[in-house]
Symmetry: C2
Subunit: 241 residues, 2 copies
DNA sequence: TTAATCAAGAGGTAGTAACCAGTTCAACAA
DNA sequence: TTGTTGAACTGGTTACTACCTCTTGATTAA
């Protein structure tokens, strides 16, 4: 079942196979085969099995109990890839809504002190500033203002941003893999400009969100402010371990 | 430096030692010793070193680059234990504020359908309902309403809750270790009861927070609603991987 | 000078082996 | 009957070995 001379590691092939089994045939708290049983079934070492299981655990698919076994997590139901939680597009699809994005502006700016500090840039560098309106089922949900380091994304165009989700662009066009993200949540009364864009009364509450996204080399690849309408938008995050 | 016959595993002793070194003597992007160098320095196998490094990586202390080395993460500056982000007490201490908690009510209730569903309980079970007012430097910050499964915490008393942070009680009195948490954020106009408790005008915005906390066996050990005043409270979360 | 090559050293993957520490339950002894 | 014990599982820890891929920089060849 596993391909030894594949470019994709054995343990990762196992992650795929077991993950699929869990999603298709198992329910929360079902017991998995023991590590040693998986070894013989797939003819791999326990090292490989434990690597795969560690990965599944990090993804929230399974949990282990010393002396008892490994079990399917309740968390497995609605969570695949942690990265998806950062993505408005993926987030909305998961909720059964149709996401849509309008790019309101796209420009290259010189970073100010605040941006330089938060993005780990020198004050001389440039950043790409993108303002987007996000809609779900045609209802305006949030306004996002994103800053990307120009040095890493100099060839990025407005057309591309209009065509593809930002996180797909990161990965497919610039080989930037998201490794970590910091998010800050707060609430306030909605600013009038955003009230207009989101089509809500001027005294409404809104959810403010600030996100800093890091690549595998621990560099900031995105710094985003979002303002979301309070009556429509709920933001979900999951912590594991 | 490491103690072979200790009850605490070698790899975890290494986590402590390396973590301390990072916090005390290193800064972001500094290179760590290579895995093989650490092996000889502490006289352990590479297995052990890699286990420790994996742990440090999960904690956000370090990041690795294939072929180049292992480096101190920028994230290390302000983050130790992911669990601490759930804890109001720890969270506030980290911000240099003095946390205080007033227990407003403590009672055992029969769960309704909504609670039963969210806590994985049958409709017949009981829960402990605790309402707390959280203050930082004497300023009321948020009102938290928590539900704990009575079956797991039947011996919990109001006195204990007044004396100790809830998450310390979980760990020390009931051996419940937090493994994962789901959080949902939204914003709204503050309800009048909370407006009064938080001493803000009735038309203020507030941050609403719903948290479900799981133990290592993937059972819900806490379900909490929070209402926080928008002008004072910012909630930070970090995702890794 | 410039480009290709190669070796050293980094982390990544994989196997084997052995023993430790919880959990469970059946077999045995009081 | 009621304990207790102990074997047979579970995952957890540790060591050793070997080879892979990626990065870097020095050496070599064009």
């Amino acid at each position: 079942m596993l391909i030894s001379d594949s470019k994709v590691p054995l343990y990762y092939q196992l992650v795929d196979i077991l993950g699929k089994q869990i999603k298709e045939n198992m329910k929360p708290h079902d017991r998995m085969l023991s590590e040693r049983e998986i070894c013989t079934k797939y003819n791999v070492s326990r090292t490989t099995v434990r690597l795969a299981m560690a990965e599944l655990e990090k993804m929230g698919y399974i949990y282990k109990m010393h002396g008892k076994g490994t079990f399917v997590a309740t968390l497995a139901e609605n969570k695949q890839n942690l990265m998806e939680s950062y993505s408005f597009t993926e987030h909305m699809k998961k909720l059964g809504k149709v996401p849509k994005t309008e790019v309101l502006s796209f420009e290259v700016i010189k970073v100010n002190d605040y941006l330089a500090k938060h993005m780990g840039l020198s004050g001389e560098e440039n950043a790409i500033k993108i303002i987007r309106l996000r809609l779900a089922d045609g209802i305006p949900m949030m306004v996002e203002t994103s800053y990307l380091p120009f040095a890493k994304f100099s060839s990025l165009t407005e057309e591309l941003v209009k065509k593809k989700p930002l996180y797909e662009i990161f990965k497919e066009e610039f080989s930037q893999v998201i490794k970590a993200a910091d998010e800050e949540f707060s609430a306030s009364i909605i600013p009038s400009r955003e009230a207009h864009l989101l089509q809500v009364p001027t005294n409404s509450a809104c959810l403010k969100l600030e996100r800093t996204t890091y690549n595998t080399a621990n560099q900031v690849i995105e710094f985003t402010f979002s303002i979301a309408r309070a009556d429509q938008f709920i933001y979900k995050v999951r912590h594991i371990r």
